[in-house]
Amino acid sequence: MVQCLEGVKHLLSAVVNCCDSEIYKQPGGLENPEALARETVFSVSEIEALYELFKKISSAVIDDGLINKEEFQLALFKTNKKESLFADRVFDLFDKKHNGLLDFDEFARALSVFHPNAPIDDKIDFSFQLYDLKQQGFIERQEVKQMVVATLAESGMNLSDDVIESIIDKTFEEADTKHDGKIDKEEWRNLVMRHQSLLKNMTLQYLKDITTTFPSFVFHSQVDDT
């Protein structure tokens, strides 16, 4: 009987300690900012400030402590009417658990990549996955064209098919060093190291100032951050 109880106790403690991410599912509570700070580029106060942003976004449509796709779109575009091939792709990359919802853990870890101090390798990885629309481990010419056309359409810009084709030709000439019609991770990395401006959208300067733009965290702070 005693052994049975011990077993149950071990089982329960294993479940409780399972993974840090379980802790954030409790609405209204940021239980362990230190753990997240350790595993991301953010400081503890940045995590707390980020949590304020998360609460705002996640309560926009359904107040459940989670961000669904509609709330994500609303936060990005101020309207849930705009469908963006890319906002979808970004959401999917944030949504590591693939359950259509972002909890704070997923939100913070993904945004960490966009911090100015994040390692460039993380930005290279994320951007590669972003553009690899069909998730085949390489970027195809057809995917590139699809993204270029969608981008131009979104911005109201107008280019003839010939011009678009020639731009893509030149891009592949430079990037596709193995000449197999696809851009793999290594070729992507080489291209980006030569043209670092291609990673411009992988850095959000705002993340460095986040503690000043979300000062309300000061009143909830559990940590004396010196």
Partner: protein, 123 residues
Amino acid sequence: MQDSSFLNAFDIISHFSGFDLSGLFSNNGIHIISEMYISAEYPRKIIEKIEEVAKEEGMKVTKKEKGIRLLGNFLVMVEINRLTEELVMVEVKRRGLGRDIWKEKFKPQLSALIYQSERQVRR
């Protein structure tokens, strides 16, 4: 001009699309409006036109390596990059309070310089 100094397909995709997450922060007064145009004009001519309007509006003008910076009640940054032999990409980023001077004064003046392709894109 060397081919590799032209914008490539990923420049288009990364600079100008909904990959820009800065929208997440724009409720807090940090709201940057970003617009892009394509032109078959020489960059020099585009900058001259912008400068002309800026001076009329009493804005402070600073020339930059690839563009121009204007300061009035709105801060406007214009950067021009070559896309092909014939075409350039004009990127305008602005933020400010009150009257959107770019929209009201500059855009109408520049509309003649914007490239309109006649042929449809094959998808």
